[in-house]
Symmetry: C2
Subunit: 462 residues, 2 copies
């Protein structure tokens, strides 16, 4: 844990003049804002400010810029690659109090929210409309944070990721300007796609203050199921076949045998400890039945066993809660261990080979590491359980990560499907994108010449 | 038509040393590259080069940059806002000979193509795989051009636009660097989304040389239909209701009564001259029937008349050919006139009001102007037929365009849904996006400090 530095007193004085007691330098608050859900060590900000309006964000940015102080946008701290760590100190800008749903346009299937609204809060707010916001990364993250990290999750295969579902946004840039990008029209060809540039920029180009989001109608019928497979290949091949015939799967998630054992223990289930697909079908009563029949036929041909169905909402919730608790279930496999949750994404044809080779690699290390995957997208997570105090394990894991990324890139994939670069994957970004990283840096320097917006993330700039 | 300028002879000599007789300064070739399908006057390049490899593109860029010569990427010239006009002279880089499909990955539902491949060529090439590429702007444009202008078209409501379907690309930037963005994985959170930045950048940030595109399975069943309505409101309301219940419409196109009269005359049809929806349903035999029943119920409640069905491929082709020929049919309404094809896009709840007000505006001018729309996206086209020699009509039309954009922006929409900014909508971009345009310009200046990539498009830089 890094030592408390002193912010220039004049910065603190200006921030306090602006925000009063919504500026904190207490150790507890700084600690809370100095650690995310990744395995990275604490890196505390020098101060935390709680903003409530876009204008306050702008004013904070102007104060910090004048003094050359780094700023780190903070939602609820659920990111997984060290995104919110104050590795160069500075001010953590906590947006969680900007949590108003500003508008819901039922006819247009969109909502306008402040950046601090969480996905569960939004879905609760709009429940009566029969609409929902589908992106579901597991954690109840803020929508601003989800946009900043280009989050996705279990139903991206059907509904897309934050890249697809953010129609527009407002952001404060490093120079204090407030911009609005995109809009409420479903399509636009009006100039550069700044919305997509800010989505996934991890707080390094601007601080997102509000978002316009696409919504979907809650389907008339929802069917959930689990289906055991004799092999990872079978589960992956069934997924590919289903996508090729155009089956509109809402969710298709793989858990390997290690993960299933963890889920059985943690969530009191009695699933067969074999590679298993968790599935969800959305549609009308008739069309979901048709989808299920099609998928069942495909699964049988690929070594799929008996389906276990959940049509009642409470049964569905239990099933998906188990999937969502995969991370906590994994932790339970080795009490006291840290979970190093990482992700890669490959073309789906390579998924079975990539997962199988990764399983072999882990097993050769004699480390525990469940694998779960959003297999409809070719995206999977490995969660090695390591003893943070054991430098040998750390070294082993670093080698494992290097090989995992090499393997994914070798298959034409990416070093991260949905977690982002943060501080954890800076070198892998370079390996993956080569000269394109220079272009990213040129954009960063054009928009944030002082490198004060979340410095040390995505790139290690001088 | 602007007078032939002389390119510095040393530039020409260098280009000829590189490309031999694939450099042309002939009047005919320059004229062919100095006009698109917009109403803008000719603006000829000083020379046209035909490139066949990415390396040649890079070498041409390096030659032009050293001499400060503007470059305009050219596909087949079907853009609609003056995108390919050489308003500052320079070299038109014709990519139409880079027309190889480099790879088709059936299992991954993607294809890698050179930028000069056209959408029809790709679909012909992959027909045997049972897959198709859905973006269909009407014209048989090159895929590089479609990406550069963020094209969409009739089935974007179901399958998305070029923004959604380009997984990655290669491009040569102004400094001669060759970058690869995105990749073949379905998702990635690895750094800034340069793919989406280049898609829609209209040749001002880089020259796209190849693309990785998402493909879809050709649906088992396709049903097409036309349905007449008693009012534009009825047609729009039926569309909104269908989207709200989550009907996966593949195409839903509005043609107003003026357009229907034009189509009847041009395509020898006998449709009722009333606002009409052209529809297409994709799915299984069973699910398309279910979709049709649902839509028919909705349409009846909104003043919809009798459906006319087309299930046989040749009947479907005839129907959609009539829709695609809307532009030519419009021209036929006033022989000798020019079509000023423009587009705006609004939230769908505002579509009926926006179209109706636009219809009234046109009628008050006593000008002919059919309206067609991709109503599932809230995107519609107005095609005033004007006498190019009549300055009074030009003035009237300018006022009409200003009001159209104001109206669309007033409804929360955008000044262009799919045609782009080009040289025609530079001032409207400013009205729509305000300070965000400065951010776009900062990016442009960072990546193209000499302003040599398609200058005079999107912005009017000094």
């Amino acid at each position: 844990m890094n030592k408390a530095r002193e912010l220039d007193q004049s910065v603190l004085a200006e921030l306090k003049a602006l925000l009063g007691d919504r500026v904190s330098t207490s150790a507890a608050v700084r600690e809370h804002h100095g650690k995310d859900e990744s395995y990275f060590p604490y890196a505390l900000p020098d101060a935390v400010v709680y903003v409530t309006t876009t204008e306050e964000v702008r004013d904070v940015v102007n104060i910090c810029r004048r003094h050359g102080v780094p700023m780190i946008p903070y939602g609820v701290g659920t990111s997984l690659e060290g995104h919110i760590l104050a590795v160069h100190g500075g001010v953590s800008i906590d947006l969680s109090r900007m949590n108003k749903v500003l508008a819901v346009h039922e006819e247009d299937l969109d909502a306008v929210v402040q950046a601090g609204v969480t996905r569960k809060q939004l879905n609760e707010f709009i429940k009566h409309t029969g609409l929902f916001f589908p992106v579901d990364p597991g954690a109840d993250a803020t929508l601003g944070g989800m946009a900043a990290t280009r989050a996705s999750g279990t139903n991206a295969v059907r509904y897309g990721t934050m890249r697809d579902l953010v129609l527009g946004l407002s952001a404060v840039l490093a120079d204090g300007s407030l911009i609005k990008t995109g809009g409420r029209a479903r399509k636009s060809s009006a100039g550069y796609d700044l919305t997509r540039l800010l989505v996934g920029s991890e707080g390094t180009l601007g601080i997102i203050t509000s978002l316009t989001l696409k919504l979907y109608g809650i389907p008339e019928a929802i069917l959930s199921a689990v289906c055991p497979f004799t092999s990872i290949e079978g589960a992956c091949n069934a997924t590919i076949a289903a996508l090729q015939v155009g089956l509109p799967l809402a969710r298709i998630e793989l858990a390997d045998e290690v993960q299933i054992r963890a889920c059985n223990a943690y969530s009191h289930l009695d699933l067969l400890a074999v590679p298993t697909l968790f599935l969800e079908f959305h549609g009308t009563a008739q069309s979901t039945r048709e989808q299920v029949e099609t998928f069942a036929g495909i699964a049988r041909g690929e070594g799929g066993g008996e389906f276990r169905w959940a049509e009642r909402p409470e049964d569905r919730s239990k099933l998906w809660q188990a999937r969502h608790d995969a991370y906590w279930a994994a932790r339970g496999l080795r009490p006291g261990a840290e979970v190093l949750s990482t992700d890669v994404c490959v073309p789906i044809s390579a998924l079975a080979d990539c997962v199988t080779a990764t399983r072999r690699d882990i097993d050769s290390l004699e480390l525990l590491a469940p694998i779960v995957g959003h297999v409809g997208d070719g995206n999977f997570h490995v969660m090695p359980l390591i003893d943070p105090a054991n430098p040998e394990e750390r070294r082993e894991i670093q080698g494992f990560l290097d090989r995992l990324i090499d393997r994914a890139l070798g298959f034409g994939g990416t070093c991260t499907g949905e977690h982002g670069i943060g501080e954890g994957k800076i070198s892998y970004l370079r390996t993956e994108h080569g000269p394109a990283v220079e272009v990213m840096i040129a954009i960063k320097k054009a928009l944030d010449p002082l490198n004060i917006l979340n410095p040390g993330k995505i790139f290690a700039l001088a």
